[in-house]
């Protein structure tokens, strides 16, 4: 089984420096791209490979790039931004790539910037990723010295400057347009779409924002081709994916596996099954903003379309397990509290609804909840529905809430009728 993204990452060891990275074929793809391929060729290749964005939404990367205007002068400057603001609860896959192989990301970014003809690129990094920041800065330094960044890269005439921006730490900055506002030094509130960033992005210029894992793929696809990439997955989507498991399992962690493996495989073979004494009750398959899946879904294949068909989302592919010794109401309260605190405060349903939800959940958990809260929670979950809110923050928050109310209804009722939490 191929593991292109993590092949050169060894937990516990420092990341490859430039020399080591080159020894294992690093920057060959960049040379190939700059010497033999036009920007349009690369975009076509990525389109053909059907690389879907790994940040959570699964938008086709090549399509995103192809929206960028390619006329020579009028659209300049253009920007490429790497979304490394990994703040989805339970998600730590980008961190693994950032700390483990920064040159892989940098090479991918140079090729991507070349494809859209961007002259400036930013890595918008989660504030807490101090180790990743140090590694990135060192790697960028090396890349500049070796002529992979800066003016006239490898004699191609292509110029690129790459900057690391360590963010101030808001969940909403993971939303690409809020990220752009934040990067411009403005309040991190999402922007109106359309226009999409490809037309008017950072500083009003054409911009592509891609996730760390997405950009880390680029050099591999350029080197090995679209068919190779498609062949890596067990389903039609293409590629491997970094999956992760957290919660009461024997071996929590993150692994690179083909898209399309089942939840059961992930849980049993890679995470080592539930810790002894704990039983599986459910999982948020792709981070906190995805719907619960339960035991009935253990054979669902982990891919964008199949998880969606089961009523949830693949999201970031890193699941959080709910066990039988954790109160589901408390679990959901914890999640919703996070979303309420991270709301940017721009639109009404999110700003006003999430704190209400949080208060009702806490009240139920504390044994002071009322039966009508169950209807009010469902009402709010619907109130947060897509299209009702300005961005996807509240709809994301609605997912664990609405599915939790469905799958753990009896637990909610028991809290209210018994006026206490039986897990306490």
């Amino acid at each position: 089984m191929e593991r292109p993204l993590t092949k050169h990452i060894k937990p516990g060891f420092t990341a490859y420096n430039l020399e080591e990275y080159k020894q294992v074929g690093g920057y060959n793809a960049l040379l190939k791209a700059l010497k033999n391929m036009s920007p349009g060729d690369i975009t076509t290749l990525i389109k053909t490979s059907n690389l879907l964005g790994r940040g959570g939404a699964g938008f086709p990367t090549g399509v995103k790039w192809s929206l960028v205007p390619m006329d020579v002068d009028r659209s300049r400057p253009k920007y490429l931004v790497c979304n490394a603001d990994e703040m989805e609860p339970g998600t730590f896959k980008d961190r693994y790539l950032l700390e483990g192989n920064p040159h892989q990301l940098i090479e991918g970014m140079i090729i991507s910037a070349y494809a859209i003809q961007a002259e400036k690129a930013y890595i918008f990094l989660r504030w807490a990723y101090k180790k990743a920041e140090a590694g990135l800065r060192k790697a960028i330094d090396e890349a500049y010295k070796a002529g992979y960044l800066g003016k006239n890269i490898m004699g191609s005439g292509f110029n690129l400057d790459l900057y690391v921006h360590s963010s101030a730490g808001r969940y909403i900055c993971g939303e690409e347009t809020a990220l752009l506002n934040s990067l411009e030094g403005k309040r991190a509130i999402p922007r109106t779409k359309p226009p999409f960033p490809a037309i008017s992005g950072l500083f009003g210029r054409p911009t592509v924002v891609n996730n760390v894992e997405t950009l880390s793929w680029i050099s591999h696809i350029v080197e090995n081709g679209a068919d190779w990439f498609k062949g890596l997955s067990l389903t039609a989507t293409g590629g491997t994916k970094l999956f992760g498991v957290s919660g009461r399992v024997k071996n929590p962690g993150t692994w690179e596996l083909p898209l399309g493996i089942t939840i059961r495989e992930l849980l049993e073979e890679h995470a080592g099954g539930m810790s002894s004494g704990y039983k599986f009750r459910g999982a948020l398959p792709g981070g906190a903003s995805t719907d619960f899946l339960i035991e009935d879904h253990l054979d669902v294949k982990m891919d964008f379309s199949t998880v969606a068909a089961a009523g949830s989302r693949l999201g970031t592919g890193t699941m959080i397990i709910l066990d039988d010794k954790t109160c589901p109401v408390s679990f959901i309260h914890n999640v919703e509290k996070f979303f309420a605190l991270e709301s940017c405060g721009w639109c009404t349903p999110c700003r006003e609804g999430l704190p209400w939800v949080e208060k009702m959940l806490l009240s139920i958990e504390d044994g002071t909840g009322k039966m009508e809260y169950l209807d009010l929670l469902s009402f709010n979950a619907k109130y947060f529905g897509p299209g009702n809110t300005f961005c996807a923050h509240a709809p994301g928050a609605a997912e664990p809430l609405q599915s939790g109310l469905k799958y753990f209804h009896d637990d909610f009722v028991k809290h209210i009728t018994d006026k206490k939490c039986h897990w306490r």
């Binding site: 922007r191 109106t192 309420a340 940017c344 405060g345 009404t348 700003r351 006003e352 209400w356 009508e372």
Partner: protein
Amino acid sequence: MIKILIDGKYYEVKPEKNLLETCLALGIDIPHFCFHPALGSVGACRLCAVKKFRDKDDTKGRIVMSCMEPVTEGLIVSVEDPDAKAFRASVIEGLMTNHPHDCPVCDEGGECHLQDMTIMTGHNYRRFDFPKRTYNNQDLGPFISHEMNRCIQCYRCVRFYRDYAGGKDLNVFASRNQVYFGRHEDGTLENAFSGNLVEVCPTGVFTDKTLKMHFTRKWDLSNAPSVCVHCSVGCNTIISERYGSLRRIMSRYNGAVNGYFICDRGRFGYEFVNDEHRIKTSQIRLGKESKLQPVENEHIFASLTDSFSANKKIVGIGSPRASLESNFALMTLTGKENFYHGISRKEFLLTRKVSDFLQHSGVISPSLKQMAGADAILVLGEDLVNTAPMIALTLRQAARNLSDAEAKKKGIPLWNDAPVRELAQDTKNPLFIASPFSDSLDEIAEDTFHSQYSDIAELGLMISERLDKKAPDTKSGGNDLLKLAEKIARHLKEAKNPLIISGVSSGDESIINASLNITTALLSFGSDVMLSMVFPECNSMGLALIPGNSFEDIAGLNGTNEIDTLVILENDLYRRADEELVNELFRISKHIIVLDHLPNKTVLRADVILPAATFAGSEGTMINNEGRAQRFYKALDAENQVKESWKWLTDLIKIRNGEVKWIRFDEIVGFLADDLLIFSKLKNYNPGSDFRMLNAKMPRQTMRYSGRTAINANISVSEHKLPEDIDSPLAFSMEGIPENPPSSLVPFYWTPGWNSVQAMYNYLEETNGSLKGGDPGIRLFEPGKKGENIYFKQETKSIEIKKDEWKIVPAFQIFGSDELSSTGAAISKRIKKPFVLMNQEDADILKIKSDDRVELEIGKIRINVEVIIDKGVVKGLAGLSVNLPGMPFISMPCYGKFHKL
């Protein structure tokens, strides 16, 4: 036009608007908060949700925000859809979770957009049963009261204050349901348009602090359409009365003039009307040495018979702050040969020169709306932020024209505010400012040039020379100046709608000549150039259009000729000329009659004082700087002996000629129009006093006006006869049709369901368009043929740097330089002490620091002023605050010496 389907009904609509404003213009009520027609859409509040259907077979549809929905051919939507209605109610429910429901003690109650929207969506039952979030409030200064708990986070305040008006000290802080709108700490809101927050805020977070001092609910106010008297722009206002005092001023929409907004001087400058020192009784002095004493009307008229007999020489001095009709009545009394303008000779010559040019050169004298469309702008010598704030605000919008064009190219509709601004970033229209001091407009300028007047004029002349070879030669300035002149000339030449702005407040003819020459040069090749000239006062232009000379030219002032009777109309001559000259005028006048509102130095010299109604108690016409005649109406009924100056003057004419020339306002306007050709259009441009809607006058009061039978109960329990108003079609009553009066007669905004100012949608043709029936006011002159104009020859010479003397130029102040507004309590708190601006180098020479006090000697005048170091001021130049309370008249520019104290 395109066709769209709303709730099963087809409408023909314009494609460039969004769905929300389209529906509002069609009279379809859609609740909303964050959308404001001047600010565009941002999709924050989510209240304007409607259902959109893919096609006719789509029965499910999806919820969209109407403010973010472009109107496209074949669009199918439903406002009445049950899902959309339920969602709108749930948005209100969300907002109400924290709203304090303190309507009974909230100043906004009764004209609250939040109340209206809550009722419109049908939300009424509270299901949120947790404690509410609370905030601390701030002291935001004398104008605005702050009550954050009422906030519904629509973001309109910061979008207006920061994005629209360029303010810096109001912001949104924190996030989630803790977002806070205020300053970083307590303190006065600095922006000159802060008062608009009162109208922009959909609820009671920002309310009018001056109204709070004598609070009255909207429904208990008696209102009238008026025009601001505090600068020459002539913004339209709604003035409101209760119990005989003026309670507040709000903006009155005029699509061609001020749009939705007014400045803080206009909104809060009204307090002089209620001043405890107001002259409300006639007073007479029975001998030169005796004191003034109150007198009944009959006795006054009897005592004046002699002063007005046919053989007496009567001289009248008019005023740029009095109405056209009052000035005309005075001219009728004295005859044209004895009517003088109550302004300095210098100001007279400059205003006359400018008004002649505007009428006859073929240039466009633009409205604010036209100015907003300018694509290259040059400001020459005028400090707009302080002398014509609304023009400054308009330039901020004009600055966006270039980026608007970019947005259009990218397919972003202009109502989609955030993306338009994100795309634009700092792109600005070419705006060039050449003036003595830096101000807040500098930040949106492409280039600024701060220097003394002669240099500014030199720059102007260089520009005109570069535009037209026939323009007078200039001596070659420095290389940088030359480059700047070339750049400005190029932009003005290439622009479709270039705009030159200058004014007479500099008091410097070279600046005026330079701006007229640039205009002439642009006209010489057929440019559609606009020239906006700022005048010192609200009716300066009106006065300039009336024959006569400056009162400094009164024959005999330096001789022995005596004046039998001198009549001074609403004017403190000591603000107009040197004290000695005015004293001399009074010395040669045997009998002095003064009509005014408040005691001042001139009033104290009167033998007879006649109490003149203020704008709030008068009907009249004023001509703004554009040349637009605008009618204002009274909200205050006559009180004691107070009446309009033109009515007093009518009485005096009767004493003199034995004839009653006119009784009603319409009649004096008729005489005016017949007598002076320039005013011939004034005859029938507004509905006359006999105009009726369904046989009734337009009510000044709302239908819910309370206490009519009780207001005078402490005096007499019988119901008083309603005051009559023979001069206008407005009634001092709630009877009549309150909805949709003619556009010039809007006393307040109200339509069923809309009690807040947002009711104005129903008065407009379309959002940001004209009022239904056309914007009020009539332009007295239109640009004629672009004739060959003559260039003004102008020598410029740099200031001689004299060893101990500084060139003193006027530094106008939005708060303080205007006479009437300065007496109010709120404005007073914003007025600085008299000051001079100078640069660090000069201060070092004088060995003084910022905040030091120095004595300034100008001729015989010596005044104490505070020093403010301003790095924008060039060496050898000092800016002296103009006309602040306690300052004498000083004719600037001039030279002065500083003495350390």
